[in-house]
Amino acid sequence: MGYGTPQQSIPASAGKAPLSKRAELFKQIKKHRYHYLFVLPMLVFFAAFTLWPMIASWYYSFFNWDGIGWPTDFIGLGNFREVASDPGFWNAFMNTFLFALTHVLIQMPLALIVAVILNNQFLSGRNVYRLLLFVPVISTTAVIGVIFSILLNPLGGAINEMLLGTGLINEPINFLGSTALALPTLLAVSVWKSFGTPMIYWLAGLQTIPGELFEAAKIDGASKVQSFFRITVPMLAPIGLVITLLTFINNLDPFDLVRTMTEGGPVKATDVVQTYIFRYAFEPESGSSRYGFASAAGILFSLAVLVVVIIQALTGKYARRSGTKGA
């Protein structure tokens, strides 16, 4: 502000102007004292439970530390190097991303079809259907995990009994005990569990399409399938990008399900980053906790997530810009 003013005027104004500015600031602060009082509790919680854990997690990651006492054995990037060269971490890493990706590629399109059917205002019982499809979302994941472990049990579990009964299979399938089937099974349960969320997203998106468009298309002789691909899909594209991002982020933490159904097994086939970290922090196979290593693994993972989110956000921005240009 004052960069262009002649030298000699600085001492005079430097002594005075900030003072009145400060006085003004004090006045403002005093005027808003109750505002500060109201934000204070939240700020204390934010500092203690969000800010500090974030900073501390980064700090811990530079130490070889078992969680006892204060970290003293500084090893620089040693933990990061060890995490990055551990095939077990990358196995868990890929599995976690596979969880998110499966929801985007399978759950989202399926939810869109159901949402389009349910969007018909005249459909009887649409609220009941919507509610029933939504119930798994609000149920406790850990409880669902236990129940599915029972249902999938090879010795008398209901799903195996039914498959045997219909003659589709001759021998019970050990869904959770096989290294080949455990992960697809968990993915299927997870898609079932959170299906209602993208369904609600799509329903909200469908509500933004003016009904006249469909009426006009109908008059022009378009079939339902045609108007789905020519009207619904393009109209939903911008919101679809947001839904993709949300679905991706929402499904990056399958800890509860994995922990209750397979604990990451068999032979780490269903290990995800959260169970990997939990093991190193609280149930170490080596006998002593490795807090620094666990923190480094967490940071590496969240950096990767950040990169994916930025790419997705940029794609969305780019798509929107080129979209308006075309119009």
Binding site: L25, Q28, I29, Y34, H35, Y36, F38, V39, M42, L43, F45, F49, L51, P53, M54, S57, Y60, S61, G67, I117, F122, L123, S124, G125, Y129, L131, L132, L133, V135, I138, S139, T140, T141, A142, V143, G145, V146, I147, I150, G156, A158, E161, M162, F195, I200, Y201, A204, I239, I243, L246, D256, R259, Q274, A281, Y291, S295, A297, G298, S302, L306
Partner: protein, 278 residues
């Protein structure tokens, strides 16, 4: 006649939806039916939905012997406290940040939004250290703080947005009538924000009731503090063949949340739908 016609036209869609929803709901049908079956009926197998001799034994066994009474009350205490704490913290902060322009407001808002995107690492460890440091380890208070402390940013932003959208005249006329800051907030502004109160309540209720990771970590050495999710997991670990008892336990944890959801579902659906438009 018209209704019948409409129904007939909808028939294919109705059949499709009905089959789909029934398969979808099967795990819940199983839970409810199994919780009333006797253990011997379960062992003899069969996938009958209607129990031959309905019994309440499973509920008694889960409630008393498997300590579900304890888990249930722990869940109730944790959930009620978390909801209350989150409501107080976020509504007050949202009001202060949404009305007027106090110095530092921008800084606070930027910090809140940034923290949603910055890589967090594995924050349960420092959180654990903090709770231990405060002397709350192995108490329900520890679970409550760890569950309600972090990441309530979306709720704060919802309140900020709502309070900022209210007309300025409201405060002016209330001030003329002699209302102070606290009166203004508690008897005028807060009741006005009912939709946001509803949304934040149902989201934090579901989050706290269904929490697993935090209560698991904070009750590793104190079984009597387990919540329903953790209790169910441990019940399965120690008694994995008591399927009917587990089903009864599942009913106890799932039914309350469904009831609460039925009352507040409007706010929940609107909150979810709002997140894709915002």
């Amino acid at each position: 006649m018209y209704r019948l016609n409409r129904f007939l036209r909808q028939l294919p869609a109705q059949i499709l939806l009905l089959v789909f929803t029934l398969i979808w709901s099967y795990p819940f049908i199983w839970i409810i039916s199994s919780s009333f079956k006797s253990q011997s009926e379960m062992f003899l197998g069969g996938i009958n939905i209607i129990p031959k001799e309905p019994t309440l034994d499973n509920f008694v066994r889960a409630w008393d012997l498997a300590n579900f009474y304890q888990y249930f009350f722990n869940s109730v205490i944790v959930t009620a406290s978390v909801v209350l704490l989150v409501l107080v913290l976020t509504s007050m902060a949202g009001y202060a940040l949404g009305r007027g322009s106090m110095p530092g407001k921008k800084l606070i808002m930027t910090m809140l939004v940034m923290s949603m995107f910055l890589p967090k690492g594995f924050t349960i460890l420092p959180l654990f250290e903090l709770i231990v440091g405060l002397g709350f380890n192995n108490t329900l208070m520890g679970v409550i703080l760890a569950e309600s402390g972090p990441s309530k940013i979306v709720s704060i932003l919802l309140f900020v947005g709502y309070f900022a959208s209210l007309p300025k005249e409201m405060e002016e006329s209330a001030t003329i009538d002699g209302a102070g800051y606290f009166r203004m907030f508690f008897s005028i502004m807060l009741p006005l924000s009912k939709p946001i109160l509803g949304t934040v309540t149902i989201f934090s209720f579901i989050g706290a009731w269904n929490a697993f990771f935090v209560p698991l970590t904070f009750t590793l050495s104190k079984p009597s503090l387990r919540t329903l999710g953790v209790g169910m997991y441990n019940f399965f670990g120690t008694n994995s063949v008591d399927w009917t008892g587990l089903a009864a336990g599942a009913v106890m944890s799932v039914v309350p949340i469904i009831i609460v959801f039925l009352f507040l579902q409007r706010y929940f659906i609107e909150g979810l739908a709002g997140s894709i438009k915002g």
